[in-house]
């Protein structure tokens, strides 16, 4: 099938900017992406905006039209919501539009404003990605839900908090020199283990931070790129999506994520690749245990085997399969609706050679993004390849 070529990318600094509005964040990321693409903004045929909780954080719904004008474009504009997978799902809609000929040029971005809610407010806002009746009313939080998954994993497969701490250490090391990352600091296993508890066994450094930020990318058809002489060194060649029961308690297993498996399989088939072709990837490490479950669900490790991957150095920047070279959600930051788009912008820069960690993937040609919503009731995977 045709590919959606990446003409340009943009991302704000991720961090703590409680005073910045969603429209300001999105405007910066979108404008940067349009400039990077070198296209006239009048050429944009459609806009997709990933956002999870604008209603709760800044009393703002209906972000399609708002964000269109935040970047000064006049095109059909739609918001996509799928909890923390909102950004990746927005990318998927844009890819479909370009591939089916509906559009030649699509701007897709994601944005989230979180710090203005405070820690308890943001925890409450994020919790609405769970089942209101049988989870939220019982006191579940997202750190708490992933803590349940981690505790179950330890009981079923073994492993402990120290294994998971290596995931956080790795992702912080990857972000240390990333100028857009929220935490540009290396940490130690001891620091992770000694951090204040959030929902044990998840501590503060097992958890992605509360983050304000936005990311955007311009996708074009191959024909459009050729006709207009655009440089598009990276293309999205496969897309896949999976859905599961919303409530964690409704799943057959608390330590296997079928939505990730389904999204991965569909994306591999769509791109005509196998997981063995993948050189590096960005996965949804909202909590340390989430990276482990993602690597297993995507087929890189058998069930119960990925918990030692970071500790053994297999997924570090110099390992066989670098994971989250951007710093991941853990250290780059997790402005939830922007995350799935930011994974695409970071991989694009890694391939193009203008990312601080590009040296780690010099000979790479195939990469993946994996973005999940809730306790992986939603998952979306994209295959990115160096364009011929």
């Amino acid at each position: 099938m045709a590919s959606a070529h990446i003409a340009g990318v943009g991302m704000t600094e991720f961090g703590e900017f409680p005073e910045r509005t969603g429209r300001d964040l999105f405007g910066e990321a979108g404008d940067t992406a349009i400039d990077d693409a070198g296209i006239d903004r009048e050429e944009i045929d459609a806009l997709y905006v990933g956002n999870f909780m604008g209603e709760l954080s800044e009393n703002q719904g209906h972000m399609g039209p708002l964000m269109a004008k935040a970047v000064g474009i006049d095109a059909p504009a739609t918001r996509v919501e799928s909890a923390c997978a909102s950004g990746g799902m927005a990318v998927r809609q844009a890819v479909k539009d370009v591939r089916n000929g509906e559009a030649d040029v699509v701007l897709v971005g994601g944005v989230e404003r979180m710090h203005n809610m405070g820690t308890t407010g943001a925890t409450g806002g994020l919790s609405v990605a769970a089942d209101d009746l049988w989870e939220i009313r019982q006191g579940i939080t997202f750190p708490g839900a992933y803590a349940l998954m981690a505790q179950r994993y330890f009981a079923v497969h073994g492993g402990d908090r120290e294994d998971l701490a290596h995931v956080a250490v790795k992702n912080h090391a990857n972000a240390a020199n990333n100028p857009l990352a929220q935490y540009q600091t290396e940490i130690s296993v001891e620091k992770v283990l000694d951090a204040p508890p959030v929902a044990l066994p998840m501590g503060l450094f097992d958890s992605s931070p509360i983050t304000d930020g936005a990311a955007a990318t311009v996708l074009v058809s191959e024909e459009y790129a050729e006709e207009h002489g655009l440089e598009t060194p990276v293309a999205i060649t496969g897309t896949g999506q999976g859905t599961d029961n919303l409530a964690l308690a409704e799943r057959d297993s608390m330590v296997w994520t079928p939505a990730t498996e389904d999204a991965g399989q569909e994306a591999y088939e769509d791109a005509g690749i196998s997981k063995d072709d993948v050189d590096f990837l960005e996965v949804h490490d909202c909590f340390t245990i989430a990276e482990v479950l993602a690597l297993e669900g995507l087929g890189f490790y058998d069930e119960g085997e990925a918990i030692t991957a970071a500790r053994e150095g297999e997924t570090t920047a110099d390992g066989d399969l670098p994971v989250n070279l951007s710093g991941g959600l853990k250290a780059k930051g997790h402005p939830v609706g922007a995350t799935g788009v930011a994974q695409v912008t970071e991989i694009t820069k890694l391939f193009r050679g203008d990312h601080v960690n590009s040296d780690a993937v010099e000979d790479a040609s195939v990469a993946l993004t994996h973005n999940a919503g809730g306790t992986v009731a939603s998952a979306v995977v994209h295959v990115l390849e160096v364009a011929e």
Binding site: L133, M149, R152
Partner: protein
């Protein structure tokens, strides 16, 4: 439950049954069980669902110790939250015990309690 609380048909009755010591799930002709409210079986789409008793006693599959809560539980922390299996359904609820006394596999009994913050009802698990 306060009178001004929005009522959730199906859920409220299921909580009341838990409180009365005769909890139930919904079961389809294929034997799939789920918690209400449901129009159809979430597994197979069958629409003829009937209430079937589930046991009061179950097994704790996992638990956490929550320190950072949502606003509705700000006065409740820290608390232990768990998921427990009752025959063919699983429930999420408050484990009424200190974390050091809880382990995966603990036997629990389901009941009804309330949030200390909002006094809203919630599912509870007592260690058996």
């Amino acid at each position: 439950m306060s009178d001004d609380e929005i009522q959730n048909d199906g859920y409220d009755q299921a909580l009341e049954a838990i409180e009365n010591g005769n909890p139930y799930a919904l079961e389809c002709p294929e034997g799939h069980q789920s918690m209400p409210p449901r129009r159809v079986c979430p597994e197979c789409g069958a629409s003829d669902l009937e209430e079937v008793e589930i046991p009061l006693s179950g097994e704790l599959l996992s638990y956490n110790v929550t320190y950072v809560p949502t606003p509705d539980f700000k006065d409740d922390v820290p608390f232990v939250l768990g998921i427990a299996q009752f025959d063919n359904v699983r429930l999420t609820g408050r484990v009424k015990a200190d974390a050091e006394d809880v382990e995966v596999g603990s036997a629990v009994e389901v009941g009804l309690g309330e949030s200390e913050t909002t006094e809203r009802p919630l599912v509870t698990f007592d260690l058996a």
